[in-house]
């Protein structure tokens, strides 16, 4: 196999890594918000449930969570949901791995939503109560205060920890190969097994590095853009 062929094959895998990355961000980031609000709820039950969920999800390895999501429908209901999706999508549309990828996406979105929720909670709780009170004495509603006063300060404060999580996320996507999803490292391992090529495995690092480099630049820009005020 030529260098170009290997690169193309690895890039096919990296597209799956990027898909997992994008979907996790797009679903996990919004989903973290209601979880954060539940964790701060006045209602003790809501708060405890939310905190227990966050504890469990952050407390066990993501790899294990992928296994759980993937195998639980079969174990509990005797229906291999994701395996069926795999078969159906392959037979009907020739798309491989659709069910496995779905399982991975669910596990990732839930896992990251919990991490994000803790970042949101920390950000929201770090805003001084004087900011709320200044809004109250100006006759504003709670929702106006949150949207127009608190939110932007929270965003400014959470950009650095979110950046960290986002950079971790692209590397975590490699975990998808624990249920044989063809992400980049899985493809590289396949080359090692079938073509006796070991260098592609190390070469995958370049893909991650380039992507993380781009991410770092973009995230730093965002951080800079928000640094015009100090809260």
């Amino acid at each position: 196999m030529s260098f170009l062929e290997v690169t193309a094959f690895l890039f096919d895998g990296f597209k799956i890594s990027l898909l997992i990355f994008a979907v996790t961000l797009l679903c996990g980031a919004p989903l973290g918000l209601p979880i954060a609000f539940c964790s701060m709820s006045r209602f003790k039950i809501v708060k405890s449930i939310s905190k227990v969920i966050v504890w469990i999800v952050r407390g066990i390895p993501l790899m294990l969570q992928i296994f759980i999501i993937y195998y639980v429908p079969g174990l509990l209901f005797g229906y291999q949901l994701f395996g069926q999706i795999d078969r159906y999508m392959f037979i009907e549309y020739g798309i491989a791995d659709a069910g496995r990828i779905t399982a991975v996406l669910i596990a990732f979105a839930l896992n990251y939503a919990c991490y994000f929720s803790e970042i949101y909670r920390g950000g929201i709780e770090s805003i001084s109560k004087g900011q709320y009170e200044a809004g109250y004495v100006l006759g504003l509603t709670k929702s106006q205060i949150f949207r127009k006063i608190i939110l932007k300060q929270v965003i400014q404060r959470i950009v650095p920890p979110m950046s960290n999580e986002i950079i971790t996320l692209i590397k975590d996507t490699a975990l998808a190969n624990c249920i044989m999803v063809c992400e980049i490292i899985k493809n590289a391992k396949e080359l090692a097994a079938t073509k006796a090529l070991i260098w592609p495995l190390f070469f995958t690092g370049v893909f991650y590095l380039v992507f993380v480099g781009v991410l770092t630049v973009v995230l730093n820009k965002a951080e800079k853009k928000l640094s015009y005020f100090r809260s």
Partner: protein, 252 residues
């Protein structure tokens, strides 16, 4: 008729009774200073009057309108509390400006959200107020680019942007260096001249004496002595007031 009538206000936090039966009145255009040692309940009183704390007992009447009456058992809605708050303005010890907005935006935010007029009028009024507190060159600055004294003047202007009937100050200068204190006190003096009704919690005795029409001395959650400033500050009758003011003279 008095613009503010406070009768028999009580407030406890758990078992500690912080305000025990506070009553006073304030005439339109007057300046009232509240003095008293730390923990005597001055901040709590201002917070109760501005509906940042729920008052346990008593009655608050502003300009003839009953804002709060513990005899009236109907529950206060959030809407009513917000309306009540709009009667008054409150200036905090640590300013609490909105950091992501410029000086001008700090002033226009609430009037715009509350639809108090069209954008042009709101902006014009805001610029006038910014001028009034002497910051016309700083209208487009962010709070972090201003000194403490300037920030506090913005906070005063922001409170005035909603035309409150009474402006409350909780130790407006105690987070400031002595040089910056004067610029804020001068703004307050200017407001008095333009007829603004104000209630000021302060530790600046000389200022309280010069600017006030009435002084209240609080201790342990009660009003120990009240009257005109000359009398309360220069010639206190009560032992506790004398004791408090003596300590002040020793310290300054």
């Amino acid at each position: 008729m008095a613009i503010l009538e406070v009768s028999n206000i009580k407030k406890s936090f758990g078992k500690t009774e912080v305000l025990k039966d506070i009553s006073f009145t304030l005439e339109k255009g007057d300046v009232l200073s509240i003095i008293g040692s730390s923990g005597s309940g001055k901040t709590t009183l201002l917070r109760c009057l501005n509906f940042l704390e729920t008052t346990d007992c008593g009655k608050i009447v502003a300009d003839g309108e009953v804002l709060f009456d513990s005899e009236d058992k109907t529950k206060m809605t959030d809407e009513k509390i917000r309306e009540n708050r709009l009667n008054f303005g409150l200036v905090f010890q640590n300013f609490n400006l909105f950091p992501q907005y410029t000086v001008l935006q700090n002033l226009t935010l609430a009037p715009t959200l509350l639809k108090k007029g069209d954008d042009v009028t709101i902006k014009q009024k805001a610029l006038e107020l910014i001028k009034k507190v002497g910051l016309e060159e700083k209208a487009d600055f962010y709070p972090c680019q201003l000194s403490g004294g300037q920030q506090q003047r913005v906070a005063i202007a922001r409170a005035l942007a909603l035309n409150p009937k009474i402006l409350f100050f909780d130790e407006p200068t105690s987070a400031l260096d002595p040089e910056l204190t004067m610029e804020v006190l001068n703004v307050i003096k200017g407001l008095k001249e333009s007829g603004c009704t104000m209630v000021i919690v302060t530790h600046e005795m000389a200022f309280a004496r010069d600017v006030s029409d009435k002084v209240i001395f609080m201790d342990g959650g009660v009003i120990v002595e009240q009257g005109d400033p000359e009398q309360v500050i220069n010639n206190p009758q009560n032992e506790r007031t004398k004791h408090f003011l003596n300590r002040y003279k020793e310290n300054s």
